[in-house]
């Protein structure tokens, strides 16, 4: 049993088999520097809870190869529900998945963001993510010209 403590003091108990899904924690355990309670200073409780929820669900799937074929559809459905998040949580989760080194979660989240960007114009993308356009119109014009070859 491993205990993680979030930046705001919440603690979470995990079975070892779940804890090793978090590569960072796994490395700590292997290096022998994992103490009874592992602090996770970069991650808030509410986000850490979501991360753990994901890991618990995905650990079960790698357990039995036989059930794998059946639970694939299950997992996909669960994943697509899981990623229905507001942007703030989405990006907090990305940072957490990156820090804790959970590849499958990071891949899922990056794919989610990519799907939000795909096929949209820069103007639309800026609106969705609130990106400030710090180019002057002239600079933008210059960039358009610079990359024109790609759209011919």
């Amino acid at each position: 049993m491993i205990t993680l403590r979030s930046s705001d003091g919440e603690t979470f108990d995990l079975d070892e088999v779940v804890a090793v899904e978090l590569q960072t924690i796994k490395n700590m355990m292997e290096d022998g520097c994992a103490e009874s309670v592992i602090p996770v200073p970069n991650v808030e409780g509410k986000i850490l809870a979501k991360v753990i929820e994901y890991c618990k669900k995905h650990v079960k799937s790698t357990a039995k190869a036989e059930e794998h074929a059946l639970s694939d559809a299950d997992l996909k459905a669960w994943d697509s529900d899981f990623i229905k998040l507001d942007q703030a949580t989405l990006f907090d989760l990305i940072m957490a998945a990156n820090y804790l080194d959970i590849k499958s979660l990071l891949d899922l989240l990056c794919q989610t963001v990519a799907n939000m960007i795909k096929g949209k114009s820069p103007e639309e993308i800026r609106q969705i993510f609130n990106i400030k356009n710090d180019f002057t119109p002239e600079e933008e014009q210059e960039i358009r010209r610079e990359n024109q070859w790609a759209f011919q």
Partner: protein
């Protein structure tokens, strides 16, 4: 002075940074968020400018996103943004250059380069794609390339261009190369010699690429190799390739018609896929998974002691159509194959093979017993499949998971009456699916004892007739009645199939299934839509 021709539309709101006001008709209409782009440095004190910018801000205030202040996405580390850009078509990634200064050059670091005519919306001509790739590689930052993939209608004149691309890719330590260069004009692309030896490649897929069959290949890191449409590689070439790939785990050959024997002592090769090649003999001590697909003309001999998974979804091309001999050949081949793979854990069988087993069944030739735990049948579930399915099921004594994937109907094996199949044809014509399964029940009882999971995948079956639905329900009835260990029945229907499906996800079917007596009281029936 300010240009007085200010029109009300928002697309004329952008102002040049140096404060000059050029003719608005030249303004690019897509500068819609001009309100955000504060002119750097030169803020005009002009009253009308301020009013306009207030108006602009007001225009944006009723858009839902404007109250959130943070741009969280730009705060992500470079590597993550690059990972996100890698998941986009390249033209989309390049468009992000215009988002903001932070994003301007990120596209140049994307390590996954996939080029195909389908990404390029406006211009599908091969020469346009070639030109795009040339320029892309020229402008890209010198940074690692994980994957380089090109799908192109190949013409001889592109040869030097492709050579250069491969040179750049290998120079950036590419790990995965995918080349699909279908020759349209002037013969296939010949792989440059410097690619015969490469130490960073982990995965290589070559389609329609010509290679010197007598060359020496050395790919010390290669784990996955797939070669298709190559008529020059022969047995010696394959042997040479295999000895040059000491860690190869998966080999796939498609339409390599000059390869007939695959003998290797490779300790790493675990997975072998053969599609539409005439391979007669395979001998590989550590291969765990064998897949035979497509068309073949030769019968085979297999020596695969470590085999755990076998997929037999192929068709033996009958050279002399209709002659009883050729059917006997097919029968013998299937019998031999099933004997050879009888120890595998998972057996997947395709519709032609099933129909051959049907013919055997009708001639009272039972198929060999297998001890597989998972049996997957890829079948069009027609009359000509049923006896074969019965034959297989009866002889699969240890099955715990049975999957029936109903695929698009193919033409049944042609059995002409004049070739001696008169009785068989009569049988088939009169075959009543539901009654057939009832008659088979006694023979199937034993095999059904260990069954825990049954899965039916209705994958766009071509047939819509009630016959098929009744027939499947007949089978399900027999199974439910006798499978004492049954835990679940899963029915997957294709989301898009309203037309051309068994329509198993109806209330009527559900109620019928619930009404069948169950030998296993805890069995559940689940429905999925994919």
């Amino acid at each position: 002075m300010e240009d007085g021709s200010h029109s009300g539309g928002s697309d004329s709101d952008s102002i040049d940074s140096d404060g000059s006001y050029s003719d608005r008709t030249h303004r690019d209409r897509s500068y819609r968020d001009g309100g955000r782009s504060s002119s750097s440095g030169s803020s005009s004190d002009d009253d009308s400018f301020d009013r306009r910018s207030v108006r602009r801000r007001y225009n944006y205030s009723h858009r839902p996103n404007s109250y959130r202040e943070d741009d969280r996405i730009s705060d992500l580390p470079d590597l993550i943004l690059i990972q996100i850009l890698s998941l986009l078509p390249l033209t989309d990634a390049i468009s992000t250059a215009r988002l903001s200064k932070r994003w301007r050059f990120l596209w140049k670091m994307v390590p996954i380069l996939a080029f195909s005519p389908y990404d390029h919306h406006s211009n599908r001509r091969p020469s346009a794609l070639v030109s795009f790739i040339d320029k892309f590689l020229l402008l890209r930052e010198r940074s690692p390339i994980n994957k380089f993939s090109v799908q192109l209608d190949y013409r001889r004149e592109f040869r030097s261009a492709v050579d250069v691309w491969l040179y750049v890719a290998t120079g950036n330590n590419v790990e995965e190369i995918y080349l699909d260069l279908e020759p349209i004009c002037g013969g296939p692309y010949t792989l440059p010699k410097n690619l015969y030896t490469n130490s960073s490649l982990v995965k290589l897929t070559l389609r329609d690429c010509s290679m010197n069959p007598n060359a020496v290949f050395s790919w010390p890191s290669l784990k996955t190799l797939s070669i298709s449409y190559n008529g020059e590689l022969n047995d010696k070439s394959i042997a040479s390739i295999l000895s040059g790939c000491p860690v190869l785990e998966s080999l796939e050959l498609r339409k390599c018609l000059d390869v007939s024997r695959l003998n290797t002592m490779s300790a790493s090769l675990k997975k072998l896929t053969i599609k539409s090649c005439d391979v007669m003999q395979i001998s590989a001590p550590k291969v765990e998974s064998l897949t035979i697909l497509g068309f073949t003309e030769k019968t085979m001999s297999l020596d695969l002691p470590s085999l755990l998974h076998a997929t037999l979804n192929f068709e033996l091309r009958i050279v002399k159509k209709g002659s009883k001999d050729s059917y006997q050949n097919s029968g013998r081949l299937m019998t031999y194959l099933l004997e050879t793979v009888n120890g595998v854990e998972e057996l997947k069988i395709g519709t032609w093979c099933i129909q051959v087993l049907s013919v055997l069944e009708m001639e009272n030739l039972t198929c060999p017993t297998t001890t597989c735990k998972r049996l997957i049948l890829n079948t069009s579930f027609t009359r000509w499949d049923l006896p074969g399915i019965a034959n297989l099921l009866r002889n699969s004594v240890s099955v715990e998971t049975l999957v029936l994937t109903m695929t698009r109907g193919r033409k049944e094996i042609l059995l002409r009456k004049k070739d001696g199949f008169k009785k068989l044809n009569q049988f088939y014509e009169k075959l009543d699916g539901k009654k057939y399964w009832n008659s088979q029940e006694g023979a199937l009882v034993n095999s059904l004892q260990g069954l825990k999971t049954l899965k039916i995948i209705d994958d766009n079956l071509y047939n819509t007739y009630d016959w098929y639905k009744e027939c499947l329900l007949g089978l399900l009835q027999v199974i439910l009645k006798n499978a004492r260990m049954l835990e679940k029945v899963v029915i997957c229907t294709n989301k898009s199939s309203n037309y051309g499906s068994l329509r198993l996800n109806t209330m009527e079917v559900a109620q019928t299934l619930l009404s069948f007596p169950k030998a296993s009281p805890s069995a559940v029936i689940l429905y999925y839509k994919s």
